[in-house]
Structures are given as structure tokens and as C-alpha cells.
Symmetry: C2
Subunit: 336 residues, 2 copies
DNA sequence: GTTAGCACTCGCCGGTCGCAAGTGCTAGCA
DNA sequence: TGCTAGCACTTGCGACCGGCGAGTGCTAAC
């Protein structure tokens, strides 16, 4: 175990296959290189180490990293300075998207890997309020305010012409009847109650299709990717042909969204190499954390790098960041 | 001139230095390779061509490209299909940011280079309307609606507590007094008239600092970069060390903003190689166009690639796109 | 003014070779 | 029985080198 730990630590640091001599010199295990060689041969047989070629040192396999992550690595802690950097960055923002976005930026710059972040969709939020504003007779600005401090506006072209008075009436009824309803349900499924209170069926139809269109117009930009260029510095991506597929993958926001949001339960998850399935993520590791509002997971944030990842540091950063982000969101919500 | 044209055309196509034989074979100039060699030696002496090394063919210099762009190149025209792709993409959006953003995406995918786009700032717009909504007693949602169909919302934490009634009063006064004012001037320089109409100096102060904070909170994300990975396919960026500085430069949104928005006059500009100044853009060419609302330039859009750029095609795409974008924005505005 | 011929230049490619790092194995020692 | 020193073996990597081919510039002739 101590040899596996030493090999992994050293390889994470140097990106060079680690030989028995190196370990004997740099890590005081109290045994000679020859002994280490014997043990390393065993570790290779067990699948924890592998050899890029016969005359080279050893590097950890995915399994080796997994074992390392699950128990061997020494947990890192962060400088006061770094904690402070995160906290001030988060206290500078109020809008939730910006909060999450700048969190992703901080994570990228602190870890020097790529970072990913998912912002909650307004559709998943509980409606707090909706505002309807006529920009032109047939263009309406719809502003949704959702419960975890989420605000989104949509500009909708309508078939029907609207006066500001009509919109004000609809707005008032909606806000009276629908507070606490999931935003997703605002579309065609507008409730009977709204129809009753509004009275006018024409107005009701217009409102329903207005909201439906507003929800359909929706921002697809829910995943932020920051610091992708950091991957350039990693020796494993020195080769363009290895880097390109990865960067191309990072452009596919829907795929990223799938991966990140599949990680629904609260807490921290590490996916190593092949655990990400086949494809461009095969040689990468992904550390994911969730952030919450009111005890409920509303989004995810992740770090992506080569399998040779500084796991302990990344885990420390992610723990702190997820915590701070959740707290910042909570502060926004529970103001006096 | 015909030889310069042939060399440039061929080099743009193949990315290989062009020899006299190749030109004689592929372009029917009616002369032999020997003649072409003589002329090419002259063109090199004049600075239009250069030789990567003694035994290689010629490639155009920046000056050569400049001459080519200014008169030699044969203007490209676009397929009906491509025009159609642009038009449908633009008709699917209504919000101005999305319109510009998806324009940038279309340009990137059509040219296979990187594309840049600047969205107008709400600060530069004329105020059409402002909405103030209390989210919490000390958190106000400010929605600005600007004249070229620009909408932006900001969430502001305030020192003072606001009731919705107070906000409604301020909002009414602001909308009465300040329609047509530049959004930028909404902050501290709130006009005397507003103070007079409001009466209450406390309310006036609160409103002024609320708007000031709202403007300060402002989105710094005004430049979109799309298709940066397309640059991977260009042989001149095969080398990571050549590509990285460029991608790093593309991350500096403020520098990009400077470059693009310095191009203020209406129309199309091409900057070739060193014309971009020293630094990461030295080996690149930039084609910039403006888009307008009501005859006024409100934003820019650009294409970035190696100096060996398909100028004629890029110019055709940019002409069309700028035109279509301006028209789409005009349609949004002049609805019946 | 144009062209054919020819000697010359130089980057690229494939092969060879020595070096260095690291291994596995064996024999010896506590 | 576990550990260690010694040693032969493997193999990737970088340097060196020579032939090839593309392309040039020059000269002489038309």
C-alpha cells in the first residue's frame, strides 16, 4: 500500500513513469529498490499498476487510482488565502447564474483543470412571481422569478396583440393563483382556477400560449465550461490529436448536462478513467459535487482533468466550493 | 498579378508552398514554369511573396495577401442553401443576445474558423422602460428595456429596505421622466426632474443608488467566441505551442472587445497578419463587420483564422450575415 | 520576352547506433 | 523467510547520416 501510494503521489507530481530507484530515494520506505521492484511486480499482477513499456517505470492503473482515492491519499487542506479568494468572489455576486459561473471560474483557476457547472433551470424552480411587460403590441417580455432566487427573462413574439392593461390583469391573476407552482407547469396546463378568475376565455388562451412560448424559447445555455485551456498544460494532452476530441466533447453541452445531472444525490463523486465509459473521457477523471438550496440539490459543479489528477487538492477545493456556494445561495434566500 | 493570384489561391487551398511547376500545371497562364519562376523572383523582391526556405515554393506575404484581398480575389457567392440556413437560424430567435450569439455560431460553422461577436451593452442603449421588482425587502430585481430591443435584468442587494409600493412609485416616475435617456446616465446623475416629481429625497437617494448598483453589477459577458476548436483543423495550428497563445488570447474578453469595438464605422474591415499588431494575432487574419439598428452601428461580428484565410468566402459570409442580422434586428423593432 | 536544360540547395524520411533508465532474475546474507 | 546486491537484458529516445525529391536560379538558345 505504501508503495502504491508513493508511485501514485510521484506520478501525479511528475507525470513520468516511476521507477524503483526513485521511490527508494524520495520516499523513505526503509527498503531497497530491489524489494520495491518485487512489490511493484505484485501490484502490477493485481492490476493496480501498469507499465507503459518494458523498460519504463510503473504508473497507476484506473484501479490503482481508485484504491488511492478511496483510502491512500493524504487529504489536502487549503490556504487561508485560497479560502478567502473563494469567499470574496462569491460575495461579489447576487444573481444565481453569475454566482455559479464565477464559481466555475474560480475552480478552474485554482485547480488549473477544466471546470464544469450546471445552473438550475427556471423550469425546475417554484414560481415566486411572473412579470409581463409589453415591448411592442405583439412582443411581450416575460420575467420569471423562481424560488431559489432564480430570475430569467424571455422575449416572446405573440400572435395576439396585447395591451399593457391586459397583461397587467393576467399578471395579477397569475401571481395570485400560481405562486408555489412549478414553473414547468405554467404552459398549457394553466389551472382551471386561473380561467375562472380571469373570466375571459380569450385572455386565458392568450396567456396560456404566451407562457408556453416563453418556456419554449428557453435558454439552452445551462452548462458553463471554464478553463478548458488549462488542459493544454497537462503533458497527456501535449498531442493535439488527444486534446481535440476532448475539447470537442466539452462543446456538447447536452452531453455534459447529462453526465453532471445524472449525479443527483448530494455529495462528492469521483469518476476515474474508464468509469466514465468509452469515448473521449476515457483518459480523464471527473470530480463532481452538488450544491443545494434548502436541502435540495439544485445544480452540480465538476472538475475535469487527466486521470493523473491531483485528487486530494481537487477534492479539497470542491468540498469547500460546494459548501460556500450553497451557503451563498442560502444567504440570498433567507435575508431578514 | 495573375501569378500572385494563382499562388495565393493555391496556397489558401492547399497550405503548401507553391512551386512554379504547380502553377503552370493547374492554372492555365499560357507560360512555362521558367517564366513563372522569373516573375516569382520579382514578386518576392517586391515583397508580395516569400520563401519559407531556399528549396521550397513560395507563399504570400502579408503584403501579398493585402494586394490579393484589395483586388485580385474572385468574390465568392453562397449557395441558396447557406443563405437559407442563416435566415432560418436568425428567424428562430427574438432576444437580441441570442440572435447575435446564434449568428456567431452559424458563422463559425459555415466558415470553419473561430468567430467573435459583440453584443450591445444595455448601458449604450436608450431607455425604453425600467421595471423594479422586490424579491426580498433588501433585494430588488431591476429590468432594463433599451431601445434596440435590448433587455437585461440585474439583481441588486440594497442597503435600504424597499416595499413593492415604493418601488412601484419610483418605477412610475422613472418611466415618466426618463424615457429616451441613455441608460448609462441613470446612475448618480438621475435628473432633477425625478427628484422634483418624487418629492421624497430619501426615496430619490435610494432610487439613485439602486440604479447605480444595478448598472455596476453589469454583465461583463459581452463578447461571444464560437468555434475556437475549428482552429485545430488548420495546419498552421497543428503545433500546440502555436495554438495555445491564440486560445489564451481568445479568453481575454476585454482585449477582444477593444479590438472589435475599435472598428466603429459601418462596413467590413480586414486585418491581415502584422496589421493586428504584435502578439498572438500576428499570424492571423481578422475579418470584421458591423451590424446596425436604425442606421446606427450597435455591434460587431468577426471571423478569426490564419492569414491563409479563405478571404473570398469569409467576406461573402460576413456581408450576408451582417445584413441579415441588421434586418432581423430591424424587424424586431418595426413591428406593426 | 520566353523557354529548355542543368547544376545546386535544402528539408524530409528512413535507417542505424549508442545511451540511459529501468526491469527481472539469481545468488547470497541476516 | 525476507531483504538486498549484482548483473544481464529490454527498449524507448535522441543524434547522426545519407539518399531522395521538390524546387530554385542561372545560362544559353529561340
Amino acid at each position: 500500500m505504501r508503495i502504491l501510494q508513493a508511485v501514485t503521489d510521484d506520478y501525479i507530481l511528475t507525470a513520468e513513469p516511476v521507477g524503483s530507484r526513485t521511490i527508494a530515494r524520495k520516499y523513505s520506505l526503509g527498503v531497497s529498490p530491489a524489494t520495491i521492484r518485487n512489490e511493484m511486480a505484485d501490484l502490477e499482477e493485481l492490476g493496480y499498476l501498469q507499465q507503459p513499456h518494458a523498460s519504463a517505470g510503473r504508473i497507476p492503473s484506473d484501479l490503482g487510482y481508485r484504491y488511492y482515492v478511496d483510502g491512500l491519499m493524504t487529504p489536502a487542506s487549503l490556504d487561508e488565502e485560497e479560502r478567502w479568494a473563494i469567499q470574496t468572489e462569491l460575495s461579489r455576486r447576487t444573481a444565481i447564474e453569475e454566482l455559479v459561473h464565477s464559481t466555475a471560474q474560480v475552480v478552474a483557476s485554482m485547480t488549473r483543470y477544466a471546470s464544469l457547472a450546471v445552473v438550475p433551470r427556471i423550469e425546475d424552480a417554484i414560481l415566486k412571481r411572473v412579470e409581463l411587460i409589453a415591448l411592442d403590441p405583439q412582443v411581450v417580455l416575460v420575467v420569471f422569478v423562481g424560488i431559489p432566487g432564480l430570475v430569467e427573462h424571455r422575449v416572446v413574439e405573440t400572435h395576439r396583440s396585447w395591451t399593457q392593461e391586459e397583461l397587467a390583469r393576467v399578471e395579477a391573476v397569475l401571481n395570485d393563483c400560481l405562486e408555489g407552482v412549478s414553473v414547468r407547469d405554467l404552459g398549457r396546463t394553466l389551472y382551471q382556477q386561473v380561467a375562472d378568475v380571469l373570466g375571459d376565455p380569450d385572455l386565458y388562451d392568450g396567456a396560456a400560449s404566451l407562457l408556453e412560448d416563453a418556456l419554449a424559447a428557453g435558454g439552452d445555455e445551462r452548462v458553463y465550461v471554464e478553463g478548458a485551456i488549462n488542459l493544454f498544460h497537462q503533458p497527456e494532452f501535449r498531442d493535439v490529436d488527444r486534446l481535440r476530441p476532448l475539447l470537442e466533447f466539452l462543446e456538447q453541452k447536452d452531453a455534459l448536462l447529462n453526465i453532471l445531472s445524472s449525479h443527483g444525490q448530494s455529495g462528492l463523486t469521483i469518476r476515474i478513467g474508464q468509469e466514465n465509459g468509452q469515448g473521449p473521457l476515457e483518459g480523464c477523471s471527473l470530480v463532481m459535487a452538488t450544491y443545494e438550496v434548502g436541502g435540495q440539490v439544485v445544480g452540480q459543479i465538476g472538475v475535469l482533468g487527466p486521470t493523473r489528477l491531483e485528487y486530494s487538492r481537487v477534492v479539497a477545493v470542491m468540498r469547500l466550493v460546494a459548501e460556500e456556494l450553497s451557503q451563498a445561495l442560502a444567504r440570498r434566500r433567507n435575508r431578514p
